[in-house]
């Protein structure tokens, strides 16, 4: 007969305000198998835990039920307390009478009744509990960072500097991400490339970092500490070892008018190209869709001029397979482009551009060498309208959230324009100015006060073209919604930041959850901002939500510490909550009939085939076997197995059956 102790917590007033905790404790003491039952103000406090520990010793308990909060909060606390008192930690159970009861009901007899019902259910489960031992699995001390923007770079460097190997995968031909495209950064106006490129070079030179650009993650299997990752290294069409990055091929390529992705389509590039001069690695790539040779079968000028004979037209994608212990996702964000806005011309006005395009116009390395020239005719615009919240905070466009970075970069854009075109006029339409951050508010003030940027609080309803001018119609809500019309030479939309293209696919490959906007979901919004719900996969930067450079870098360093912590021990302790296929004496060996229909349902590829052989080595039976290292204890196979040959340790059929029967028992009040 089990000897169970019940410990009912008041949680201050969180539980005791609506539940008669003393009564629950008293009624629980009458349950079969319960030998000790008390209530206490804070069971999780040191004295509360001591109460549990002493009761275990005094009453020789074989099981503990703590009626308190969610197991997510304090299960580990009480498991440790049990272990310290010499009781197997998996013999303790939490009865959630806070989140599932006191917080969601008024004070009443029924609330107390429900609390007791929950306790009774868990007592029933606890009386069927078995002692379990944690599973130890080895950790592969090599990290994978996906995405080579500033967050990915920072995470890779921080992990590499702790002495662990890092593989950095970037899908474009160079690392750098959006930060490499920016002209200056707020609020200090230092040159973005000047501060980023040293870090890029550091990545390339770091002995612990292996860099794969022009590559993508193909598939991810396995689990924390033991991921098996396939990386698709897309064909660059050249031998990277031979290429010296002299750039001769790029200057001789006859295709010169291909819109450059790096320049946000405002500049051009050849078919064999490096995205920008400081690219890391400085090795070109052939854009096969636009290359004359791939289209017509003739040309090969790059091959002829290449001094090291590095061009390989017949190169194919290669798949690299690597063992990885932890993964940092740093896949960044995209921005909506002007064609997303029917009211602003749906992209047909060349001089209505988005913020990233303005960055390229303002950049000294950009298509206009840093002169602000409008895309349509190359003239210097004398009047620019900046529209903040283009798409963001607009439920009608399906983007309810604030993109967070636009207020600041719009102030920066207006300021940069005023610095470059002294007689120009800059107008900003805004909803609210959100400048929370060190020196951020001062920066916006500076734009308004020192650089005379005109801020108008209101939204722009429409933009149309008239006699070479863009007529911007909006309202000034601080002047009683008075309509405002500005004849502008150029309009810059601070378009909404959105999840990076392909992030949904990647999330599914990684088994990482994501929100309705396809941004990756953190495990806890406050306390686990860099963790995901999948153990061993962490988040850095704007793939979780749009964020600025300092936030991205800080988050990357946070993720790196999590990885380093994971790599700090050789063995990882895992919960022994795993499925197990039953074994019985021969000739049956197991009630498993080896239909293996459980194999495809397992999301973790944890189900293997086990052959039972006779002494001559003949297979007499094949049955399923669960790899305990891979099993995450989800229980899907248990539900599928027709012959009930699989059981989930910690949640066995017997335990669940006992719980269900107990729920159905009659009420005591």
């Amino acid at each position: 007969m089990s000897r169970i102790g019940v410990f009912v917590c008041h949680c201050g007033e969180n539980i005791s305000a609506t539940v008669d905790v003393a009564k629950v404790a008293e009624e629980a003491s009458k349950l079969p198998g319960v030998v000790h039952s008390v209530d206490y103000k804070y069971m999780c406090s040191d004295p509360g835990q001591t109460l549990v520990k002493e009761a275990i010793k005094e009453h020789n308990l074989t099981g503990v039920v703590v009626a308190a909060c969610s197991p997510r909060m304090h299960e580990p606390t009480f498991r440790k307390a049990c272990a310290q008192a010499g009781l197997n930690p998996y013999l303790s159970e939490m009865a959630n009478v806070r989140e599932h009861c006191s917080w969601v009901h008024e004070k009443s007899e029924q609330t107390t009744q429900k609390a007791f019902d929950v306790v009774r259910t868990m007592v029933s489960k606890a009386s069927n509990n078995a002692a379990l031992e944690p599973i130890k699995v080895p950790v592969t001390k090599r990290a994978l960072v996906v995405g080579g923007g500033v967050a990915g770079i920072q995470a890779a460097l921080d992990i590499a500097n702790t002495g662990h190997k890092v593989i950095l995968v970037e899908r474009s031909p160079s690392i750098g991400g959006h930060m490499a495209q920016l002209s200056e950064t707020f609020p200090t106006l230092d040159c973005s490339q000047c501060i980023l490129t040293p870090r890029m070079v550091e990545v390339a030179q770091h002995p612990n970092i292996t860099l794969y650009t022009h590559s993508e993650v193909e598939s991810v299997d396995g689990f924390i500490g033991n991921f098996h990752v396939k990386i698709r290294k897309k064909a660059r069409s050249l031998d990277e070892d031979l290429c010296t990055g002299c750039g001769l091929c790029t200057t001789k390529c006859p295709q010169k008018k291909i819109p450059s992705e790096f320049e946000q389509l405002l500049g051009t590039r050849p078919a064999i190209y490096t995205p920008f001069p400081q690219a890391v690695p400085n090795k070109p790539v052939i854009d096969r869709d636009n290359c004359t040779f791939y289209k017509t079968g003739k040309c090969k000028i790059c091959e002829i001029v290449c001094p090291t004979k590095a061009i390989r037209f017949d190169q194919e994608d290669t798949i690299l397979e690597v063992e990885i212990g932890a993964i940092v996702l740093a896949t960044g964000f995209d921005v909506k482009h002007s064609d997303f806005f029917p009211e602003y011309g749906k992209g047909k006005y060349k001089d209505v551009i988005d913020g990233l395009q303005f960055e390229r116009l303002a950049s000294a390395s950009g298509p206009t060498q840093g002169m602000i020239r409008r895309p349509s005719d190359g003239q210097i615009p004398k009047k620019i309208v900046f529209i903040a919240c283009a798409g963001s905070r607009d439920p009608a466009k399906g983007i309810e959230y604030c993109s967070k970075i636009c207020c600041m970069y719009t102030a920066k854009h207006a300021m940069l324009y005023k610095h470059k075109v002294h007689d120009g006029e800059a107008h900003v339409f805004y909803m609210d100015i959100r400048a929370g951050g060190k020196m951020y508010e001062e920066f916006v003030r500076r734009a308004i006060v020192e650089d005379h940027v005109n801020y108008t609080r209101g939204r722009v309803s429409t933009i149309y073209e008239l006699d070479g001018k863009l007529i911007v119609k909006g309202a000034d809500t601080l002047l009683g919604a008075q309509s405002v019309e500005i004849e502008a030479d150029m309009v810059v939309l601070a378009t909404a930041g959105v999840a990076s293209e392909g992030s949904e696919d990647l999330a599914q490959k990684m088994h990482v959850s994501y929100d309705q906007h396809k941004f990756f979901a953190e495990a806890h919004p406050k306390l686990k901002p860099v963790e995901t719900n999948t153990g061993g996969i962490f988040l850095a930067g704007a793939c979780q939500t749009t964020r600025d450079i300092p936030d991205s870098v800080a988050m990357a360093s946070g993720a790196a510490v999590k990885v380093a912590a994971l790599f700090s021990s050789d063995l990882l302790t895992r919960e022994p909550i795993v499925a197990r296929v039953n074994r019985i004496p021969g000739p049956s060996h197991s009630t498993c009939v080896g239909c293996f229909l459980c194999q495809p349902v397992c999301p973790y590829q944890a189900i293997e085939r086990e052959d039972i052989k006779d002494r001559a080595g003949n297979i007499i039976k094949s049955l399923a076997r669960i790899n305990e290292g891979l099993c995450q204890g989800c229980g899907t196979c248990v539900a599928l197995c027709r012959s009930k040959s699989i059981d989930l340790l910690g949640y066995t059929d017997n335990q669940m059956h006992g719980e269900v029967l107990s729920v159905l028992e009659e009420a005591f009040v």
Binding site: T591, V593, S645
Partner: protein, 267 residues
């Protein structure tokens, strides 16, 4: 029929197979299963409209498996059952020779089960028309009427489990109803326990039933329980686009997941 007997004889004589499973004339003008190991006795084999039993039910029996290579007279339902059993690793495909019977009763030449797959793929599959007509009537009822119908029918069940014994897919060593640690389904035959058993049998066959109707034929009380699994066969096809017994790969509707699977059953 001569072709069938000739082929069976050849297979046994050449030792290509050690056993032929087929139909023979039984008592009272009925056809019954026959197990032939002697080439001289293949003259017993018959095939006509009385041959309704799904012979695939024997393939998984220990006494039959013991013969190794087996030939089996295989009208469509048997072909489909074989494919299900292969996909669920219950029989080895190299151990089975299907003596295929076409829709017109003629002998089909199946050198391998891959050819059977191709043959099945060409045939429109579904429930037998007479059964589907009853199902359509049942589906047209209100939920209350349907519940009353089934409660009335299942009340008579005394849990002899003949339905389970007749089904080629009910091959578990230990059926869920026999689990008593814990006892999920109550053993005695009473209305609730009967409903539980038949619901369980239906769910376990969802996506695996080949609509042979043998469970219904086996029922000594003539309860039309085959309609339950046949309804589920249609449901599974409409929801997931898969029919049981069309492939030797494990593609059962309830054990595979595709991103575009319907989720409208989630409330």
């Amino acid at each position: 029929m001569d072709n069938l007997r000739q082929k069976a004889k050849e297979l046994l004589e050449s030792k290509t197979v050690n056993l032929v499973i087929g139909y023979e004339n039984g008592t009272n003008g009925k056809a019954r299963a026959v197990f032939i190991t002697d080439p001289e006795k293949t003259g017993k084999l018959i095939y006509d409209e009385r041959c309704k039993q799904n012979l695939a039910v024997y393939l998984n029996k220990h006494e039959v498996k013991h013969y190794g290579k087996i030939a089996i007279v295989a009208p469509l339902m048997v072909m489909r059952s074989i494919l299900v059993l292969v996909s669920e690793c219950q029989v080895k495909k190299e151990n089975i020779v299907a003596l295929g019977i076409g829709e017109d009763g003629s002998l089909l030449d199946f050198p391998s089960l891959e050819v059977v797959e191709k043959y099945v793929a060409k045939i429109p599959l579904g429930n037998p028309q007479s059964d589907q007509e009853i199902l359509d009537k049942l589906n047209a009822m209100t939920m209350e009427q349907r519940r009353a119908f089934w409660q009335n029918e299942l009340e008579r069940c005394f849990k002899c489990y003949a339905c389970r014994a007749a089904c080629p897919m009910c091959y578990c060593l230990r059926c869920t109803v026999e689990c008593n640690q814990p006892q999920w389904i109550s053993a005695p035959a009473h209305p609730l326990g009967n409903l539980e058993w038949h619901m369980l049998r239906t769910m376990h066959l969802t996506g695996r039933c080949v609509s042979c109707g043998d469970c219904g034929r086996a029922c000594p009380l003539n309860i039309p329980i085959h309609l339950l699994t046949m309804q589920q066969a249609e449901e599974a096809f409409h929801m997931f686009g898969v029919r049981a017994g069309t492939s030797m790969k494990a593609e059962s509707a309830l054990s595979t997941y595709k991103p575009d699977d319907k989720e409208n059953f989630i409330l």
